[in-house]
Amino acid sequence: MTPVALGTASTGASALWYATRAFGVVALMLLTGTVILGIAGSARFATAGLPRVVTAGLHRNLSLLVLALVALHVLTTVADGYAPIGLASAVVPFDSAYRGLWLGLGTVAFDMLLAVALTSLLRDRLSYRAWRCVHWLAYACWPVALWHSLGTGTDSKLPWLLAIEALCVASVVVAVWWRLSLAAPGPGRTAAIAGTVLVPLATGIFVYVGPLQPHWAERAGTPATLLHPTTRPGPVGLVTPAGPGGDRPGHDVTARLTLRPRGSK
């Protein structure tokens, strides 16, 4: 019998794969918003229309929404069994066979987000200093999530996605600069300014030599079986790699879909 055609099975797989990418990107955008709101809070930003309680409340609620979206992002990835990613990879970093490093970064970011959220929910039982220490992880969580999205994501070459990510980076950098302008000069401030220059720079360089170059999927650690599938069908249908630079069809604008049903010539 012919292998399952691209029809329903792969549409179902693609739907989950689309969903996970969508959840991921939206989560990243909302995480950016959360970080900016947090910075506004630390800078005591308030206007008549946006009092402190509103920025603080938005920051908190948005962060919970991000958590929910990331959970969905993880669940849809695991449910879509195309890539060999197990549920454990959600919290155990660098555990996955699929793009171990880049996926692992996502795990790390998620772990940090969980730590920040949990300590915030249990604030009255912790010392202020302990809570504050963990909360500062947020400044690490956000770039790690960004690198995860650029390294793991299959959309990393798409101009609109790169534009979104660039906008996220720019808005966080501007917010941090504004916050630093209110701080006293000192080694801490200098280090922070250096960070706001180095992190976007490193990210840009990475994007240029990584996802934007050919064979990124391979270099990123996509398992060989997904890069060059054999003639037997995969678990949810037979799909083949498209052109260079991608390992999943359907979105890569340079990819071409070829279908090789079994037994064809």
Binding site: R44, A46, P51, R52, V53, A56, R123, D124, Y128
Partner: protein, 82 residues
Amino acid sequence: MAVRQRLRWDPTACTGHGLCADLLPERIELDEWGFPVITGDVPPGLARHARRAVRACPALALQLERAGQDPGGRAGHRAHHG
């Protein structure tokens, strides 16, 4: 049970964020430097808002306690040089 509660703030932890005054303007005002002035006890009707104000403080500097409790450290201090 209707019990009056009292607000207490830790001046060493407070850094003048001012969320407490936003959430409980009936009992908390800010002085000219942004630090809270507590203007009265919390009747049962305002208890919920007072609890929100306590939770909202970024520095965890606000506390709610039963009125009539020994204030503890603050009242026990003097300019005590021995």
